[in-house]
């Protein structure tokens, strides 16, 4: 999947299911039945993208607000996790 631009809306793939459990979450990709553990920031991002499409900037703002970190940290957390989701083909842009 190509790099997502900051102003491009992204959404969770329809082939992904997830559940929060404790402070973490589990995400399952229906293409291969692979299940992965995601941390609390990760499950927040997945849940947020599951509800509505967002740009990276909007997502970073949400993360910064929810976890009381500055925007730089929010952007870094989002970028790291979106890389992971992109690798799993769990998000789609546009």
């Amino acid at each position: 999947m190509p790099e997502i631009k900051n102003n491009e809306k992204i959404h969770l793939s329809g082939r992904v299911r997830f559940r929060a459990i404790g402070d973490e979450g589990v995400m399952v990709h229906l293409e291969n039945g692979r299940a992965m553990v995601v941390n609390e920031v990760g499950i927040f991002i997945v849940e947020t993208l599951g509800r509505q499409d967002m740009t990276v900037a909007e997502l970073a703002e949400k993360v910064a607000g929810a976890f009381e970190v500055d925007m730089d940290q929010g952007r870094a957390d989002v970028a790291t996790f979106l890389d992971q989701l992109r690798g799993e083909q769990a998000i789609e842009g546009g």
């Binding site: 459990i21 404790g22 299940a35």
Partner: protein, 302 residues
């Protein structure tokens, strides 16, 4: 168009489901009876209640799908597709279907091109595995890729994908005098406030070579380990999310079905809230007794 092979039928008593296969030729019937000898049910039972009725039928032409369409994660995996009222299955040499969600008995069909193909483990066994994996969810149970070993009157499950070491461990267990339910797949069902493991006629490599437990035996589950190969024996507790992810990966045929996933997650979550689930690395040289001693110790601490 498909049509039946003959007028013979057979009853197979799977754990939690009495399966009637009809439309068989005499040869198919006798081969299945031989292959599933410990699971044959009395014909009188047919008049009582069948949970599943499977019609054996002819396919007019080979399936003809390329191997890559029937492969997932490097393993053979029949295709499953949701239809209006059920699930269609396409394998190398068969097609199958069953109704999902309706009242019992569940109606299903299994079709092959050649008469002898129907009783092949790669056909009938795969079909029954998929059927059971879905149906057992209704009862709060799961079909789990695992080796099941009876130790001190309880079954301990070693869950893992192919090459995780399940068959090696099952062989060590048998060599040490322990009983093995299966080295490949076991049925886990909630019963009497706990969980029991049921032997199923899906035997894996170990069961095809060694006569182990016969019939539909079931035993209380002592604990479950997510098994992996390791240089030496290790155990580690699992966080709930790790346990859920590991168990999900071990639930074939239903862990990629969007309609089954929510129920499957509920069932697995309930399981690890009731029984200890740990991670366990086992080395080639680790003796069975040593493995079990460490397993039990870890379960006590979990």
């Amino acid at each position: 168009m498909s049509r039946c092979w003959g007028a013979d039928a057979i009853l197979i008593q799977l754990p939690m489901a009495l399966v009637l296969i009809d439309g068989l030729s005499g040869e198919q019937q006798s081969t299945i009876a031989r292959n599933y000898a410990s699971f044959n049910a009395d014909a009188d039972d047919a008049s009582c209640r069948c949970d599943v009725i499977c019609h054996a039928a002819r396919l007019s032409q080979p399936v003809g799908l390329p191997a890559e369409r029937l492969t997932r994660n490097g393993q053979y995996a029949p295709l499953q597709r949701r239809t209006g009222d059920g699930i269609e299955i396409i394998g190398f040499n068969f097609t199958g279907s069953f109704v999902r969600g309706g009242p019992a008995p569940v109606h299903s069909e299994l079709s092959v091109v050649k008469e002898e193909q129907l009783a092949w483990p790669s056909v009938l066994e795969n079909f029954l595995r998929i059927l059971m994996a879905h149906l057992v969810l209704n009862q709060g149970g799961v079909l789990l890729h695992s080796a099941g070993v009876l130790y001190q009157d309880r079954v301990y499950l070693f869950c893992g994908r192919s090459n995780a070491g399940k068959t090696t461990l099952a062989r060590k267990a048998a060599a040490a005098g322990a009983r093995v339910l299966s080295d490949d797949i076991n049925l886990v069902i909630p019963e009497e406030g706990g969980y029991r493991a049921h032997k199923v006629p899906f035997t894996g490599e170990f069961g095809r070579r060694v006569e182990n437990l016969s019939g539909c035996g079931s035993y209380p589950i002592g604990g479950l380990a997510l098994l992996e190969k390791a240089p030496k024996l290790t155990t580690a507790p699992l966080r709930p999310a790790e346990a859920l992810a590991g168990l999900l990966t071990g639930c074939p045929f239903v862990n990629d079905d969007p309609e089954e996933i929510p129920v499957l997650m509920d069932i697995l979550t309930n399981f690890f809230h009731h029984r200890p689930v740990i991670r366990m690395g086992v080395g080639r040289g680790d003796a069975f007794e040593t493995v079990m001693t460490e397993f039990l110790r870890s379960c006590d601490n979990a």
